[in-house]
């Protein structure tokens, strides 16, 4: 509770999240999720991906609506810039995952957030993807995330919020640790 006795409200239903944790502890098979995307090539390097269904809690689930994402490298890669670049989508995933975590952890710790913003930078030597130098990796050489957070909390409490979000972040884990990807042609 803040000093004004106004309940802390970051818009996160922590009771529901803790209820989900309890329910999934009792029924671990319900915690097995499968997230999906469908991608259709448009022209050149331009594609359109849709997100709608996923599997979880033991059954097929559906977002409230279909989300559609166009992707295309920028014009300097001889493309038409019909959307964000694929690697930029990875940064969006990381930014939104850490930010959702900051809000959820703040709510659980009864810290009122006023504003949260993050800037992300991912460095990449494109000599890798262009096949100039096979010793240079195709992906990011590193990513920097910088948060600006205004909250009813000390600087140390704010740093601890961000650290706990990192610890529980799915996308942070995906980027910092290896994941097996199989690619097949039907």
């Amino acid at each position: 509770m803040s000093t004004t006795d106004t309940p802390v409200d970051n818009g996160v239903n922590v009771a529901a999240l803790l209820g989900a944790r309890e329910a999934l502890t009792a029924a671990p098979e319900a915690a097995q999720f499968t997230w999906r995307a469908n991608c259709t090539w448009k022209n050149g390097t331009h594609s359109s991906s849709t997100i709608e269904q996923f599997f979880g809690l033991g059954e097929e689930q559906r977002h409230r609506q279909v989300y559609t994402f166009d992707a295309d490298p920028p014009e300097i890669f001889a493309s038409e810039d019909n959307g964000a670049t694929p690697v930029e989508y990875v940064l969006v995933g990381l930014a939104s995952c850490l930010t959702a975590g900051v809000a959820a952890v703040a709510q659980n710790r009864e810290i009122q957030l006023r504003s949260v913003s993050a800037t992300l930078e991912g460095d990449m030597d494109v000599s890798g993807i262009l096949g100039i130098d096979s010793d240079i990796r195709n992906g990011f050489s590193g990513i920097r995330v910088t948060y600006d957070i205004d909250a009813d909390a000390t600087p140390d409490e704010i740093k601890a919020l961000v650290a706990q979000s990192q610890k529980r972040s799915a996308v942070y884990d995906i980027i910092t640790n290896p994941t097996n990807v199989t690619v097949e042609v039907r």
Copy 2:
């Protein structure tokens, strides 16, 4: 060239890409790119990220327009489903990166594509992110990508296209190999 003597056209300017490769081989510092995202917390687990500027070819660059992406877990996570889930953005990045690569490699190999689509599935035991079991990772336990490709090529040539796209894919590299991420609070 196809048997009808119609030039292969997948909409990829391979000459420009090869020109870029030549130019960047001569001036390797121009190959140092930095991709960026800015994220603002909205409410609850809902955030909005924008993509606009990046650095490359030795100077600041800008997309043709600002791309904005709302992210939010679905309602079963006590959220409002105001956008795709952060981990789904990672699948979009992977799908679009591999698909752009398929088109670029096909153009370079003079294979006419008629249609390319991919379905992606990422498995995740949410016991990790919910803090039920610290031995379970937060991210995907594995990702499956399945392509359906209709092209003027044999099944083996199509499989080779996809394999070469994987080999040069930035996002495939990011997901399958570890990347350092630093997170700071200003």
